[in-house]
C-alpha cells in the first residue's frame, strides 16, 4: 500500500509527505488560526481597556491573589498533560488515563475559578458586559478563553474515557498528543492574558 493510501486508511493517523501525521499537522494549522483569533480578541482588549467612559477600572476589580492560584493550577495542568502524553508513548495506559483525567480536573477547577470571578465582578463590583468598554472586552476575551478550556475539559474527559476503555493503545498515542497540543495552546493563551491583562495593570 502506498504512502498516502495509508494516510487515508487511518484518516489522520498516517505519516504523510512531510513526515508528520496528518492529525498533528492539522492541529498546528488550527492553532495558527487560533493565534489570529485570540490575537484579535486580546488586541481588542488593549485597544479598549483604558477607553472606558464609566464604571470600575481593571485595578478596581482584579484580585491578583485569587487569579494567581487559578493560573498556577492551569500551569500545572500542562505538566500533567505532558506526563499523560509521555505515559501513553510508553504504553502505560492506566497512568496516562490518570494524568489525562487529572488535567481535565485541573482545567475544570480553573473554569470554576473563572465562574466565581465573573460572578464576583458582576455582583459586588458592578462590572457587567454592558457597563463599559473594559467590561465588554474583558468578559468576551476571557470568556472565549474559558470556553476553550471547557472544550478542552470535555475533550480530555473523553480521551481519558477512551484510554480507560482500551480504545487508545500506544499506536494511537497521537490522539492523546494532539489533545495535549490544544491544551498547551490554551494554557499559553492564558499566560499571555494573565501577564499582560492582569499583572501589567499593577506594574504601572
Amino acid at each position: 500500500m502506498s504512502v498516502h493510501a495509508q494516510a487515508i486508511e487511518e484518516e489522520g493517523h498516517g505519516t504523510g509527505s512531510l513526515g508528520v501525521p496528518n492529525l498533528k499537522l492539522a492541529m498546528w494549522a488550527f492553532l495558527g488560526s487560533e493565534c489570529m483569533f485570540f490575537g484579535s480578541l486580546i488586541g481588542t482588549y488593549f485597544f479598549y481597556h483604558d477607553h472606558s467612559l464609566a464604571g470600575p477600572l481593571p485595578k478596581d476589580v482584579f484580585s491578583i491573589g485569587i487569579t494567581s492560584i487559578s493560573t498556577f493550577l492551569l500551569l500545572m495542568s500542562s505538566l500533567t498533560m505532558a506526563l499523560g502524553v509521555d505515559a501513553m508513548r510508553r504504553a502505560n495506559a492506566k497512568r496516562s488515563r490518570n494524568f489525562v483525567w487529572g488535567t481535565a480536573l485541573l482545567g475544570l477547577t480553573f473554569v470554576g475559578f473563572q465562574v466565581f470571578e465573573f460572578h464576583h465582578f458582576v455582583t459586588t463590583k458592578g462590572l457587567t458586559l454592558a457597563t463599559s468598554l473594559f467590561g465588554s472586552s474583558f468578559y468576551v476575551m476571557t470568556g472565549f478563553h474559558g470556553a476553550h478550556v471547557t472544550v478542552g475539559v470535555i475533550w480530555l474527559s473523553i480521551v481519558g474515557w477512551m484510554i480507560h476503555r482500551g480504545h487508545f493503545g500506544q499506536e494511537k498515542a497521537i490522539n492523546v498528543e494532539v489533545s495535549g497540543l490544544y491544551w498547551h495552546f490554551v494554557d499559553i493563551v492564558w499566560i499571555v492574558i494573565f501577564t499582560f491583562v492582569y499583572l501589567l495593570e499593577f506594574a504601572k
Partner: protein
C-alpha cells in the same frame, strides 16, 4: 512513445470500505467523496452566481436612468449589500472550493483529502450559512449596511434584523472556511504522491495552498469582529457603541485584516488556473515556473500587511498611511512577475484558442487594468480623491470580474470535461466569451470616468443634470449583456452534460496528473498510485523517454472512506445555535451545543 491509454491496462484495484455505499439522495447527503463534495460546491456556487447577478441586474435597472423610482433606497441598499456578500462568499469562493475539492487530490495524486468527513462538514456549514443569510429576504428584510458592514451602521439603532442574519450567516461561512483551510493545508502538504516534491506540485494546487493559509489565518479576525457585533446586538455589549466610547475603527481594522487577504483568496486561484491553461494551449512549459509559485506565496504574505489602504480616509495618521502605502505598492511587484511570466509563456508558443484559452488570455489585460488602478490607490493622496467613488467600483470589478471570474470561467471550460466526461460546446463558449467581455467592459470601463466625474458609490439615484446619464445607461446595458452571456454558459453546461461530445481522459493533451485518469474519475481516483518524476509528469510520460509513469505489477487494495451522517449532524447543530441566537431562544442554543458534543463524539468514534 508511451500513451495514457496504457493506464487502462493497469491491474484492477480492489476496494474495502467499512459500510456499503448509499445511493441516490442519501448518497449526496452523506458523501465524503471529494469529487461529489466538489460538485455540490460547484452547483451551489453557480446558483448563487445567478442570484448575485440578478441582484446586480435589479439595481442596475434602478441606476439606468436618473431620478428613477424602480427601487426604494432601502431596497437598493439591501440588494447592493447582498450582491457583494453573495458574489464574494457564496459564488466565487464556492466555485473556488469546487475546483479545490475536485482537482487538488487529483493533481497531487491522492485518493481523497486528508479529512474527508471534515470536508463534508465544511460544505454543509457553508450551505446552511448561505441559506440562513438569504432567508433574511423572507424574514424582515435583507441586511443593508454594505458588505463591509461598517459600525455603527450595523448597530441596532440604525439597522434591522437583516444584520442579525448577516452576522450569523457569515459566522457560519467563517467556520466553514477555517475548517476547509486546515483540511487543504494538510492535504496539499502531506498527501502528495511519491516523488511529488513541493516544486513539482502544479501551480494551481500551489495557489490553492496559499489561499488555504489565507483562509485559516485571515478569517479569525472577521470572526472576532462578527462575534463582537453579535454580542453588541444580542447581549448589550458596547464594542461599537460610540456613546460609550466605542471606536468604529475597531471594526474596520478587524474587517479589512480579513478583507484584504480575502481579495487574494478570490484572485490567486484564477491566477493558478491561467498558469495551468496557458502552457497547455501554447504547447510550452510555464515560463518561470518557480517564479510564478514564489510570487504567489509573496502575494499571500503581503496580503496580511496592506489592509490599511482601505482606510486612508479614516485618519490613521501619516506613519500608518505611509506604511500601508508602501506595502500596497510592493504587492504590485510579485503580481507583475506573474504577468510577465504569462506573457513569456505565450511568446513563441503554438497558440490555439479554445474557449478556455480565450478566457485565460483575456484574464491578463483585464486583470492588469484592475491591478494598475489598484496601484494608483496605494498612494494616499490619489486614494483620498477616489475613495468612495465609482472609480473604486471600476477598479475592483476589473480585478474580480475581469480577473477572478474570467479565470474561473476559463477553469469551467478547461476542467468541466473531466467532471462530466463531456466537452462543452465551443460555439456557445465563444458566444459566452465575447458577449461577456463586451458587457464587462461596457459596464466597468466608463465607471472610471463616472468616478472621476464625482459619482459616489452606494447612492440609489442621481439627478439628471449631473452628467452621469450616458455612462450609467451603458453600465446597465453591459450588465444585461453579462447576464445573457452567463445564461448561455449555464445552458451550455446543462446541454453538454446531457449530450456533449465525449471528452476522453485527456482532451487537451495536458501535463498534470488529473488527466491520466478517466473522465469522470472513479471513486478511488487512480487505479494505481503514480510515482512523479518531473514537474510535468503526464507530458513527460507521453514525450520524454525514461520518464514514463510506471504501473505496478500487482493491484492495490484501496480503503475507501465510508459515508457518514456526522458532518451533516454537526453542521445542523451549528445552524440551530445560530437560529437560537437570532431568535433569542436560549434553550435551543443549549440543546444544539449538546448536540455538537454528541455529534463530535459519535464522529470520532465512528469507524471510517
Amino acid at each position: 512513445m508511451a500513451s495514457i491509454a496504457d493506464f487502462a491496462n493497469a491491474p484492477a484495484p480492489t476496494y474495502h470500505m467499512v459500510r456499503p455505499p448509499k445511493t441516490g439522495l442519501m448518497d449526496w447527503l452523506t458523501t465524503v467523496d471529494h469529487k461529489k463534495i466538489g460538485i455540490l460546491y460547484g452547483l451551489s456556487g453557480l446558483f448563487y452566481l445567478l442570484v448575485g447577478g440578478l441582484e446586480a441586474l435589479l439595481f442596475r435597472i434602478q441606476l439606468a436612468v436618473p431620478d428613477n423610482d424602480f427601487l426604494s433606497g432601502e431596497q437598493f441598499n439591501g440588494l447592493v449589500t447582498m450582491h457583494a456578500t453573495t458574489m464574494v462568499f457564496l459564488a466565487v469562493m464556492p466555485i473556488i472550493a469546487a475546483i479545490s475539492n475536485y482537482f487538488v487530490p487529483l493533481m497531487i495524486g491522492a485518493r481523497d483529502v486528508a479529512f474527508p468527513r471534515m470536508n463534508a462538514f465544511s460544505f454543509w456549514t457553508f450551505l446552511f450559512g448561505s441559506l440562513l443569510l438569504n432567508s433574511s429576504f423572507l424574514f424582515g428584510g435583507a441586511p443593508n449596511a454594505g458588505w463591509f458592514g461598517y459600525a455603527p451602521l450595523t448597530g441596532s439603532q440604525y439597522s434591522g434584523s437583516g444584520i442579525d442574519f448577516w452576522w450569523t450567516g457569515l459566522a457560519m461561512l467563517a467556520i466553514s472556511s477555517m475548517v476547509a483551510g486546515v483540511n487543504f493545508i494538510v492535504t496539499i502538504l502531506n498527501m502528495r504522491a511519491p516523488g511529488m516534491t513541493l516544486m513539482r506540485v502544479p501551480v494551481l494546487a500551489w495557489m490553492i495552498l496559499v489561499i488555504q493559509f489565507l483562509l485559516a489565518f485571515s478569517f479569525p479576525p472577521i470572526t472576532v469582529g462578527l462575534i463582537l457585533l453579535g454580542f453588541d446586538r444580542t447581549f448589550g455589549t458596547v464594542f461599537y457603541q460610540v456613546s460609550m466610547g466605542g471606536d468604529p475603527q475597531l471594526w474596520q481594522h478587524l474587517f479589512w485584516l480579513f478583507g484584504h487577504p480575502e481579495v487574494y483568496v478570490l484572485i490567486l486561484p484564477s491566477m493558478g488556473i491561467v498558469s495551468e491553461i496557458l502552457p497547455v494551449f501554447t504547447r510550452r512549459p510555464l515560463f518561470g515556473h518557480h517564479a510564478v509559485i514564489f510570487s504567489g506565496i509573496a502575494i499571500g504574505f503581503m496580503g496580511f500587511g496592506v489592509w490599511g489602504h482601505h482606510m486612508f480616509t479614516v485618519g490613521m495618521g501619516p506613519i500608518a498611511d505611509a506604511a500601508f502605502a508602501s506595502t500596497t505598492a510592493i504587492v504590485g511587484i510579485p503580481t507583475g512577475v506573474k504577468i510577465f511570466n504569462w506573457l513569456g509563456t505565450l511568446w513563441g508558443g503554438k497558440i490555439t484558442f479554445p474557449t478556455a484559452m480565450l478566457f485565460a488570455v483575456s484574464f491578463i489585460p483585464m486583470f492588469t487594468i484592475g491591478g494598475l488602478s489598484g496601484v494608483m490607490h496605494s498612494s494616499p493622496p490619489i486614494d483620498l480623491q477616489q475613495h468612495n467613488s465609482y472609480f473604486v467600483v471600476a477598479h475592483f470589478h476589473y480585478v474580480l470580474v475581469g480577473g477572478a471570474l474570467q479565470g474561473l470561467f476559463a477553469g469551467v471550460y478547461f476542467y468541466l470535461p473531466k467532471i462530466t466526461g463531456k466537452l462543452l460546446d465551443e460555439t456557445l463558449g465563444k458566444i459566452h466569451f465575447w458577449v461577456f467581455l463586451a458587457g464587462m467592459n461596457l459596464t466597468f470601463f466608463p465607471q472610471h470616468f463616472l468616478g472621476n466625474h464625482g459619482m459616489p458609490r452606494r447612492i440609489y439615484t442621481y439627478p439628471a443634470d449631473a452628467g452621469w446619464n450616458l455612462y450609467n445607461m451603458l453600465g446597465t446595458i453591459g450588465v444585461v449583456l453579462m447576464s445573457l452571456a452567463t445564461l448561455v454558459m449555464v445552458y451550455n453546461v446543462i446541454v453538454s452534460w446531457k449530450k456533449g461530445k465525449a471528452a476522453g481522459n485527456d482532451p487537451w493533451d495536458a501535463s498534470t496528473l488529473e488527466w491520466m485518469t478517466t473522465s469522470p474519475p472513479p471513486p478511488h481516483n487512480f487505479d494505481f498510485t503514480p510515482v512523479v518524476l518531473s514537474e510535468r509528469p503526464l507530458w513527460d510520460h507521453k514525450r520524454t523517454p525514461g520518464f514514463e509513469i510506471q504501473m505496478p505489477e500487482a493491484s492495490e487494495s484501496i480503503h475507501m472512506p465510508s459515508y457518514s451522517w456526522r458532518p451533516l449532524m454537526v453542521a445542523s447543530c451549528i445552524l440551530m445555535i445560530m437560529v437560537g441566537l437570532l431568535t433569542h431562544l436560549w434553550p435551543l442554543c443549549i440543546v444544539a451545543a449538546l448536540g455538537i458534543v454528541a455529534g463530535v463524539y459519535l464522529w470520532v468514534t465512528e469507524p471510517a
